[in-house]
């Protein structure tokens, strides 16, 4: 299947998953396009559209939690950033995604609460 078509398919499928979670696609359309393209490549190479910004280990239990959208498995962490790690998805109320920082897992855990950022 051609990459462009698969990108559109993934985009439509993921939209149905992220909507009830309170997320939308980033308004940064160039970033969205780039990330979806990476996911199509990853799907071709590895069988699933994995997160392009996190590392696979080859362990099924770990890696399956990195299939996009991986929000359900990183909910609190991503909610604190108002975005997923890649920035493909942001909270519905976000208009300026460039203002959102990547907060590492450890920083998030150490902060204890999200309003410190």
């Amino acid at each position: 299947m051609d990459t462009g078509k698969r990108k559109e398919q993934l985009k439509a499928m993921f939209q149905r998953v992220i909507d009830p979670l309170g997320y939308k696609y980033s308004p940064d359309t160039e970033l969205v396009d780039f990330l979806l393209e990476q996911e199509v490549m990853l799907e071709k190479e590895k069988g699933s559209p994995f997160c392009p910004c996190q590392g696979l280990t080859g362990e099924r239990e770990h890696d399956m939690q990195l299939v996009c959208p991986c929000i359900p498995f990183h909910r609190e962490h991503f909610d604190a950033m108002k975005r997923c790690w890649c920035g493909l998805f942001v909270h519905k109320d976000v208009d300026d995604p460039d203002k959102l920082l990547q907060i590492s897992r450890k920083e998030f855990e150490e902060s204890g609460k999200k309003d410190r950022f």
Binding site: Q38, R105, K106
Partner: protein, 82 residues
Amino acid sequence: MKKVLMYTLSTCPWCMRAKKFFRERDIPFEFIDYDKADEQTQKMIREDCESHGEEIAFPFIKIGEDVVVGYNPRKYSEFLES
């Protein structure tokens, strides 16, 4: 000058932005693309991430003794200057 080492992914836009940050400031750095590395190197990178209490999320950047996970120019500058 502090030594800068990055673990990155070839598919991750924030890794590209991080590299750009250092290049634009003429700060030399080394990097390894985790997804292109051999198994042994991957294992070493995973252990390094985990030893810092982090997930295997990229970019993972060591500036001297300090570690920044994620694209965070403010922190990069802070650690470069400290």
